[in-house]
Amino acid sequence: MSSAPIHRRLPLTWLGLLPFIIFVTLFLILPTIHIVIGAFQDRSGTFTLQNLKDLNTGTIPSSYWISVKISVASAALGCLIGFGMAAAVTFGAVPHWIKAPLMTFSGVASNFAGVPLAFAFLATFGPVGLVTVFLRNNFGIVLQRDLGFSILSFWGLTVTYLFFQIPLMILIITPALEGLRKEWREAAEVLGATSAQYWRMVALPILFPSLLGTFALLFANAFGAVATAIALTGSALNIVPIQLFAQIRGDVLGNPNLGYAMAFGMIVITAIANVLYIWLRIRAERWLK
């Protein structure tokens, strides 16, 4: 009878988590599973792969492609500029007091996706925006005509996304940059390495998992953004979240299960990016402790 107390205690301990388990099951797990299962069913509910095949029809492949392009472009530029800014404040190129306010600002701005962000960029780079009018009146440059730049285009959306991508990069990469020890640099210098050699052969290989991981996270971040894109471009730019939004509202694809498949595709892409991020982060932490 020695196993009796264990039997009685196990279910009781579990009960403490019951509210949480019920909540996430009802409002996170089940809805997601419903979408995933629906992606593999036809209208009558039998199993099929046809929906996934149908993703390759109509405007869907091009919308995935443009979504991926925007996410890659904004993630790459976000990594580059964010890295530059984080490096400037971490390695003392600029006065040290700038760092704390920059980190605070990054914390705010990285959460600031949405409708207001779209209006901020419209007011600045739109047809009658601050920068547009300034360039036209003072230099005679018309953004759209002379530089081929429109806020309602691929590059317009990318530039807007950078407003939350750069701060996210700064937030994540600064601790990694701080983890680069002075001794490594000194050791490299003692052995006769130039600054460029130190970066190419010591610092960047150490930072590489962090950089690639953050890139993956920024990619997922841009891929799932809906509100900014809809407020900015309406339906002018055919990216996946906008098309899915229209599909949920009014079944524009004419096949509900194709909508499930589209949503499933989104989950797969953001999941891959996030798993990559987590895996690379674990690798990075081996060095940066």
């Binding site: 996430v24 779209a118 809906v226």
Partner: protein, 264 residues
């Protein structure tokens, strides 16, 4: 630090900062231009007087408060219980709370619409109150990663086991322990999670629009299409609210450090 590196650092930083400053400047300037030739607060006056603004804004504020309360009710007992009795389950619970960052919000709400429609076993979208409830559950889900991390960090700084035993030996039940011992001790952490939740909910667009609720985010998007200056004034207002929330997080964090230092 060589001169070359210094100059590069300054250029990169100034470039970045002007990128962030320009849209905020452009937005504010544009929102003040409602009257021809002079700067004025006309757009602000007009929008604040708009009954639809008042209605949607108070709806979103109410929604944010409900979300915060739900979040606290779900997250605090769970995080507490995991720390106290099931430390082995922490990675799993944490993983689940991070899922809303992996699964796009638009996919989650898509699932809600199909799973809780009028012909389902739980027809939440069938009534106004049910849909409101569903929206609040959705927001609680979106806020889960931030809320859980905030509360769990707060719990790390206190000795959960000893506090619980002390309270139990004085005859306290679970509700008393949670409400009068644990919650006051992690209040600062809960507050920072709450402010972040407030900032997220107040301007949220996707869930509210697809569940067809009269919230502030969809209203902002809608008037953006047919009013010239008002949406920009509204955007300035919602920027200000977000910044105020984040400022309050910084403030509460600083206050907590202060009180902890004083206690030592």
């Amino acid at each position: 630090m060589s001169l070359y590196a210094r100059i590069t650092g300054w250029i990169v930083l100034l470039f970045g900062l002007s990128y962030f400053a320009l849209p905020l400047l452009g937005l504010t300037e544009f929102s003040l231009k409602a009257r021809r030739g002079v700067y004025s607060f006309d757009a602000y006056a007009k929008i604040i007087g708009d009954p639809e603004f008042q209605a949607t804004f108070s709806y979103s504020v109410a929604m944010a408060l409900v979300t915060i309360i739900m979040g606290i009710l779900i997250v605090v007992p769970t995080a507490f219980w995991v720390r106290l009795r099931m430390p082995w389950a922490r990675p799993y619970v944490e993983f689940v709370t991070l899922l809303p960052l992996v699964i796009p919000a638009i996919v989650i709400v898509f699932g809600y619409i199909r799973l809780y429609n009028t012909s389902s076993w739980l027809p939440l979208t069938g009534s106004v109150m049910g849909t409101n409830l569903l929206l609040a559950f959705g927001y609680t889900t979106l806020a889960l990663p931030y809320m859980y991390r905030a509360v769990d960090t707060g719990l790390r700084t206190i000795d959960v086991g000893t506090l619980t035993e002390a309270a139990q030996s004085l005859g306290a039940g679970w509700a008393t322990i949670l409400g009068r011992v644990i919650l006051p001790n992690v209040l600062v952490a809960v507050m920072s999670g709450a402010f972040l939740t407030f900032a997220i909910v107040i301007g949220e667009f996707t869930l509210a629009a697809l569940l067809d609720r009269p919230a502030f985010g969809p209203y902002l998007q809608r008037i953006g299409a047919n009013k010239p200056y008002e949406p920009f004034a509204l955007s300035v207002i919602s920027f200000a609210i977000t910044w105020a929330c984040m400022g309050l997080i910084q403030l509460t964090n600083r206050l907590s450090k202060h009180t902890k230092a004083a206690a030592r």
